[in-house]
């Protein structure tokens, strides 16, 4: 059974993430302990609310360094919602600029849409070769709740032997809904709140990425 740590840095619906992972067969611990987070088979970084608050919470438990060191050793990390956003270079919310973990180039900024937050069930366009969305129909919907997002994918695919797989969704405009990049994966939506569809995504992550 895969040992998963949900990183507790004071943000996110930790209980839901814990229950949803347990439902698909993981051995889950919710903790801020750095050793446990480092040693787990898979690390989940949740996050809701403001980018700046999440980044400062994450820093207070040494999160960026834990993520960096895990990835250096090829150990899987899954970011969810703002836990995905903080993996990018920069967050800009209400004029406030916050430096992120810098795992991917790009900026998290306000979406251009008539109604925000983008709240509810939406479809995604996953690329061929996707692991996370394997076995799911293209019209499957996932639960999103966010105002900010990554509107441009800035990584040059030519520079990578295996370029990351980017999944898009649309609310007013296109934005990044998920990224699969070797050991590092992330979703803007909440798989833990997306019913059976979300459970499939978590199961795919557990089985084929965490292994």
């Amino acid at each position: 059974m895969s040992r998963i740590v949900v990183l507790d840095y004071g943000s996110g619906n930790l209980r839901s993430a814990e229950r949803a992972l347990r439902r698909v067969g993981a051995d889950v611990t919710v903790t801020a302990d750095a050793d446990a987070a480092m040693e787990a088979d898979g690390l989940v970084v949740p996050g809701v609310g403001a980018f700046a608050a999440c980044m400062s919470g994450l820093a207070s438990v040494d999160g960026p360094r834990i993520i960096e060191r895990r990835l250096a050793g090829g150990r899987p990390v899954l970011g969810i919602c703002v836990g995905m956003q903080v993996l990018f270079d920069l967050g800009v919310e209400w004029g406030e600029r916050t430096v992120g973990c810098g795992q991917w180039p790009g900026t998290v900024e306000r979406l251009k849409a008539d109604v925000l937050p983008h709240m509810g069930w939406n479809t995604v366009a996953a690329p061929s070769g996707t692991t996370l969305f394997h076995g799911l129909d293209p019209d499957t919907r996932f639960y999103f709740v966010h105002t900010f997002g990554v509107r441009r994918w800035e990584l040059d695919p030519a520079e990578h032997l295996r370029p990351p797989l980017v999944t898009w969704a649309n609310h007013g405009e296109d934005f990044v809904a998920a990224v699969e990049n070797g050991a590092l994966a992330a979703t803007q939506f909440h798989p833990e709140k997306s019913g059976d569809a979300g459970a499939t995504v978590l199961q795919n992550w557990l089985r084929d990425i965490v292994g």
Partner: protein, 257 residues
Amino acid sequence: MSVAVRVIPCLDVDAGRVVKGVNFADLRDAGDPVEMARIYDAEGADELTFLDVTASSGERATMLDVVRRTAEQVFIPLTVGGGIRSTDDIDTLLRGGADKVSINTAAIARPELLHEASRRFGSQCIVLSVDARTVPADGRPTPSGWEVTTHGGRRGTGIDAVEWAARGQELGVGEILLNSMDADGTRAGFDLAMITAVRRAVDVPVIASGGAGAVEHFTPAVRAGADAVLAATVFHFGHFRISDVKASLRAAEVEVR
């Protein structure tokens, strides 16, 4: 494809039990909110709302237990409203497994609560619940003609309902739950004029509530600008099911899950 219109059943919960539970054929205990939540989830509910109508504060802890048990079994978003007075109350519910809280009376008494709560927990989990009615003949007129009420619509506040929704957005709430007290209980359809007016005044999602009596009532509410539709009685008493509402919306080419 775009974000689907959400269909949200609401359960009134008193001291941990569903008010006036009605036993459907496939239900063991209609009084158990967790069991009801599971049924609604299986029927395709896009979110769930629990409204805590517990009168005595001594039994508030019961609601937390209900939230915990629901979050263990149901993997769709859960909103909890009723009796929330402080950011500590919100913290307790969110930690228990609620995804959002809806605030009503406490925000009227102290609007800053909305600002404090949305800063601390994020806008996405703070819902402003607006119980609105037409200003009665002997009441103080408001610009829109609707006023905010408390105590289940019995007490007017003289606050303009449309302006209050806009103020909620300014204070940081992520969503407006608009409950028409004029339409509530009539089963004659949603208050379309009120939905339209609030939709024009805010750009956060609007959940329309009050008046649903037939599956045909839901599409007009969406056309008037609702991002989500909420109903209690019609689902609760099995007049029709969530899947019927979705079929009706789908037939009208409204996107649903």
